[in-house]
């Protein structure tokens, strides 16, 4: 299976977008070779700005650029975008409803061996509490390319979470991927597994294992965390009666929280959440980290059985 880090797919998509749309400008903080923005920089040096290792300045500049009608893509790592520059993002990008797309690599444990300083495991939760912020984590390179195009048309602030490590391709070019619309990857009526980003492939693997045991799991790719696709969640609750959420993120205020909020207010059903159990991780290989912190395929199948067992 072909594998591409979504940060690289993002960079390639930007370079394509730059050709079609001269309103696109890109800003980076000395990690363009890693965030993928170097593809754009090479083609459009006059529309690429490297501000050095200064993420707060980067986000402020992005807000200023956006006032002139530009579509600004601002890249850094998830930890820095959401925390080091958090207030810049909140007050000067979100409150001003600026057309700035914050592209954050090293989302979740994909920061792997770099350790906690480079693993953005609280970023989506922080972004989710900011009004008007759209939050997206695509599952693979194809979804990333499609989402980058969608973002160019989308008006207002957005946070695009990307992976450091290569992700298997699960989509084909024909798949329709739109902001705010969950993609149903498997149908089933025993339980629904709702996953985001790098966890979508794990959810698919879990669904296959469950299927081998006669359990039909629906799988939803909830690539847009905010606004969450309420309709798809309510339908899953109604039709499958049990839900498991899976996210490479702290268990607080991410996908599990968003889905729980929808079901408690609309259609309460048993639910289990997979994610970091309110802890920091550590350096390690991706597979090792998923296993140690309870985010692996087998954890998902266990959670699915548990949720199903709690059905009334």
């Amino acid at each position: 299976m072909e594998k591409i880090p979504t940060r690289i797919a993002y960079g390639q998509a930007l370079a394509e977008l730059g050709e079609e749309n001269d309103r696109v400008v890109v800003i980076d903080a000395d990690i363009s070779k890693i965030t993928g923005t170097h593809f754009f920089a090479r083609k459009f040096p006059e529309r690429f700005f490297n501000v050095g290792i200064a993420e707060q300045n980067e986000m402020g500049i992005a807000a200023g650029m956006a006032t002139t009608g530009k579509i600004v893509f601002a890249s850094t790592y998830a930890v820095f975008a959401s925390m080091r520059a958090c207030e810049q993002v909140r007050t000067f990008i979100a409150h001003t409803r600026s057309n700035v797309k914050i592209a954050a690599s090293h989302g979740g444990l994909t920061g792997t061996t770099d350790g906690v300083t480079h693993q953005g495991t609280e970023d989506m939760g922080i972004m989710r509490t900011i009004p008007d912020m759209t939050i997206i984590m695509p599952a693979d390179a194809i979804a990333t390319r499609k989402i980058v195009r969608e973002l160019a048309e989308h008006q207002g602030p957005a946070y695009l979470r990307l992976t450091k490590i290569p992700m298997p391709i699960i989509y084909d070019e024909e798949t329709d991927i739109q902001i705010g619309r969950a993609v149903q990857l498997r149908d089933g009526d025993d339980v629904t597994i709702i996953a985001i980003g790098d966890m979508v492939i794990r959810a698919l693997e879990a669904a296959d294992l469950l299927d081998n045991n006669g359990i039909r799991a629906r799988v939803l790719d909830m690539h847009t965390l905010k606004p969450v696709d309420k309709g798809a969640v309510i339908k899953a609750a109604e039709q499958t009666g049990a839900i498991v959420t899976v996210e490479d993120h702290n268990i607080l205020n991410g996908l599990g929280s968003a889905v729980a909020e929808v079901i408690v207010e609309n259609r309460p059903v048993p639910m289990e959440r997979i994610g970091l159990r309110d802890t920091f991780a550590e350096s390690g290989e991706y597979e090792e980290l998923l296993e140690k912190y309870g985010l692996n395929t087998r954890h998902i199948t266990e959670a699915a059985r548990k949720a199903m067992g709690r059905k009334l």
Binding site: V51, A54, N57, A63, M65, T91, F92
Partner: protein
């Protein structure tokens, strides 16, 4: 005036007109804050001459078309001093005079700190300190990219220079040779907890900016002739960003506020204090 040489000879009629306008602005500031019951008069009054010179002489703007793409931009990075900005925008016709009575009230275009999303003429929100210069860099970069000849003016407080982001932005502006960017430091030497010299010394301030490769103009920021000369010189395109270090007096124009840190904000201008303030402003130089 120290630092870079200015070449302009300023017309005395212009200076007199701007001085009169600055008095009107100062009177509006104290009236607004009196009516609101709170606000920040000290730093509004210290910056009144700078804002007056910008808005009533230099800036290319159109109250009928606040989003005009070629307009000069103004960022009030020291957002708490917004009464001076609101006064200027009202004088120019962006708002009816009745709006001045609504400062800090629910539903007002005159928020406690400026909000671009609801206030025409406000090019960028402000209030949290240390951000404005970065935003100005973004606007100036796009001015260069789009080959528009607007100038971006950023008014900085002295206290906010404590924020590291200001210096990130200063470094970046020089990297990109943003000679369409003019920063003005309202150096009134008082911040909330006391004199800047005690809270966090800034001197030698001109040398700091020079070390970041900026053109530096050091002036008396409450002397209209020097203000006009400095802005005239700073806005010339010379391949580098410019900063005007405007040495000012906090509370300038109101006897009981001048040099008094307590009038930064948080004190009420009652009816009798308002009367004294208006008399001081009308009688002042």
């Amino acid at each position: 005036m120290k630092g870079q040489k200015t070449e302009t000879k300023v017309d005395s009629a212009l200076i007199e007109r701007l001085e009169q306008k600055a008095k009107a602005i100062r009177a509006d500031i104290v009236k607004m804050i009196h009516k609101a019951g709170e606000g920040h008069p000290g730093g509004s009054l210290s910056a009144a001459d700078i804002v007056t010179a910008l808005y009533f002489h230099f800036m290319r703007i159109d109250p009928e078309n606040p989003d005009w793409e070629d307009r000069d931009r103004f960022i009030m990075s020291k957002g708490h001093a917004c009464p001076v900005w609101y006064s200027a925008l009202t004088e120019l016709g962006f708002y009816p005079r009745s709006a001045l009575d609504t400062l800090r009230k629910l539903g007002s275009p005159f928020q406690g700190h400026p909000d671009m999303s609801i206030s025409p003429g406000v090019d960028m929100s402000a209030g949290s300190l240390g951000h404005g210069l970065s935003i100005g860099v973004g606007m100036a970069l796009m001015g260069k990219l789009d080959k528009r000849d607007y100038t971006v003016y950023v008014l900085l407080g002295d206290g906010e220079l404590n924020e590291g982001q200001v210096w990130e932005a200063a470094m970046c502006a020089a990297k990109y040779h943003l000679d369409n960017l003019v920063a003005i430091v309202d150096y009134n030497r008082l911040q909330i907890d006391g004199p800047t010299d005690k809270v966090m010394p800034l001197d030698p301030l001109g040398d700091k900016w020079r070390a970041f490769n900026w053109r530096v103009f050091e002036i008396d920021g409450n002397d209209m002739t020097q203000v006009v000369e400095a802005i005239e010189a700073a806005r010339k395109r010379r391949g580098l960003p410019s900063v005007i270090i405007a040495n000012t007096l906090k509370g300038k124009g109101v006897s009981y506020m001048e040099g008094q840190v307590d009038w930064h904000g948080g004190k009420v201008i009652d009816d009798s204090l308002l009367e004294i303030a208006l008399n001081d402003i009308q009688g002042g130089e």
